[in-house]
Subunit: 273 residues, 3 copies
């Protein structure tokens, strides 16, 4: 059951090293605390190896990358691989610039990732060297819909097989797959797209979930997606007249803070294909 | 009517590239989403030209500038000029340090800006190479008041003529002018000064407004100022006992999220001089 | 009385230069505004000396340090010393990496700090060149408890004597000491540890308090600690069902915004040893 995965986060309190963008970093930290993990941020090449050594997981998010932080990503990733730590890649904006695409592809080649999480356009860019990305949001033409679901599931499983990573594609319908099995998840609300960084927050939280459940990585990644989506539903149910995306951001993090195994198991909407 | 300007933002969903400070960047992103735009942040010189190419507007804010991001500002600005994109300058802290003053002046000389937005001290620094700036807030001695209004309007129009940009000076009374026409705006509340980054948020939003209304830049910039000020009034009306500046920040962004053309047209308080 | 210290902040509106991490910087700025100060952020070596010159206090926080910002810390610190400004050190993560430990120790050797504030593990690292730091949170083994209070008070006073700084160690029980006198403070709530950056926020606010009360540095630092802890208590009392750490963050800053001298004097829980 997915609920057990969040219980393990709260019990193990995984320390997660984040090399992440400065846009949403505060929310990533607060979401990690909300779900029961503990965050630390460091991108300086001279600092990252020591920091990642004391952590249980590493979350690499390439938004607002720069030359120095890119160097930090490779150093931290290799060290985390050496130590057998969980490593996650969030290829923010892959496809939107040559630097981002090249960096994401090179990271995927040189680092072993336990999980890769992005929107469909970013993941297609990684997989195919193509796909269109409209900034940091997925292109409508790429969207996972009921109509494209079969082929999307096959695509995600195939990328998971090729990379040996759990692949998580999030959007209106979320897909979380390894080579054999794909969680098709229908939690969440469209209004979450009106808050900056719900994807970044999910990547941070997912790193904690997988680090705290090393023997059930696929299930843990799916549990993180369901937690985020369900928190989006619960948070929305608490919105009042006049509230907007800023309050919604707070409500979602609050809902994660209050999430327990029973709520998650009852509210998670998924099928396995 | 100003209301049409926000309708156009929601209809066109302009993608705005922000090179902005790390203090208020999250709020800038959420305000852009709240008003109907879409944000992307990038300051790395090797990344900015690709990123700005896929956007409709570029918001250059010099707060927390560094050598690398300054290089990014010039590269992105020149590329955006080449492509005919809307470009805005927010000279945060011009007058407070030599680096900030020099960078702002050099940007103004080498990049064609559609809009320059700042507080009166920053704008005076740009215009006259003088003015006193108390950190990132305007100096009281520079303030636009009913007493200094005539000369302030003349000053702003004259700078607009000289630069060919729309010039927006925000404070207790806001002025938004081109060479011929000046909106004198009296929306907003003094308590907005107790929240960090309402100016940065406005610059991001203004870039989206002008990008979505290319044939009415002056009006679009004025509409953004009225939207921010009116959101400050609406947000304040929702404050409860015990609330303070952190909740007020959320309430203002929420009010932008819920702003529609009719509310804006009814609530905007301006005269044209 | 401690209440007078916050009155002085609101009266003098100290401008505080912050070289601080990008994780919690927005909250630091809003807390500084909430307590009556004014924030400015700058870490670029070419910018920091000018910026610190116009300020009354300098807050150096080494979280997310990088080569350039480290250079900025030394330049700003030396300039602030020259000018007789208040300077505070927050050694975030000292003990967690060689770079952080070395940077904190070198800063302490080369800059004269009016105040050093951290958790017990960070402060022990500074004092003894040892101590275990679990990321950015204190190690349980180091905790200040009723059982270890006598020795902890002696330790903090001794470090204050050795460094000539006020030393503030925050945790379940907070200690704020100079060589002769130690405030033992019991405000606050454990749930504050579930919000990222309450320590960073306190460091920013403490810089403003000490800058506004130059003749009563120890008392001012203790007043800042009591303000933060009491705001945590007041903020918690306003939490509603379903609220979590994100709303709690807002409530704490709101409570600081509304704090007055009488509330502080009535709510402060401390003894002097």
């Amino acid at each position: 059951m997915l609920g057990k995965c969040i219980d393990n986060v709260r019990k193990n309190v995984p320390l997660v090293h984040n090399i992440t963008n400065y846009v949403t970093v505060n929310d990533v930290a607060n979401v990690l605390l909300a779900c029961g993990g503990s965050p630390i941020m460091s991108d300086e090449p001279d600092d990252v190896e020591d920091i990642t050594t004391i952590c249980g997981g590493l979350n690499i998010n390439i938004g607002t990358l720069n030359k120095s932080s890119i160097e930090g990503m490779f150093l931290a990733g290799k060290k985390a691989n050496e130590l057998g730590h969980v490593v996650l890649l969030d290829p923010v904006g892959a496809g939107a610039s040559k630097l981002r695409t090249d960096t994401a592809v090179k990271l995927l080649n040189e680092i072993k990732f336990d999980v890769v999480r992005g929107n469909i356009s970013e993941i297609k860019t990684l997989a195919l060297g193509s796909g269109t990305t409209k900034g940091v949001d997925a292109d409508v033409a790429d969207a996972v819909t009921e109509e494209t679901l079969d082929s999307s599931v096959a695509f995600v499983k195939s990328l998971a097989e090729k990379t040996g990573s759990v692949v998580a594609v999030t959007g209106a319908i979320d897909l979380v797959a390894d080579a054999d099995k794909c969680y098709v998840i229908r939690n969440g609300r469209a209004e979450m797209g009106k808050i900056t960084g719900t994807g970044c927050q999910l990547s941070g939280m997912m790193t904690a979930f997988v680090a705290a459940n090393p023997d059930a990585k696929l299930e843990a990644a799916a549990a993180a997606v369901c937690t985020m989506g369900l928190a989006g539903e619960i948070g929305w149910s608490r919105m009042q007249e006049g509230d907007g995306n800023s309050t919604y951001r707070n409500r979602i993090i609050d809902a994660i803070f209050n999430m327990d195994a029973a709520t998650l198991d009852e509210g998670a909407k998924f099928e396995i294909r």
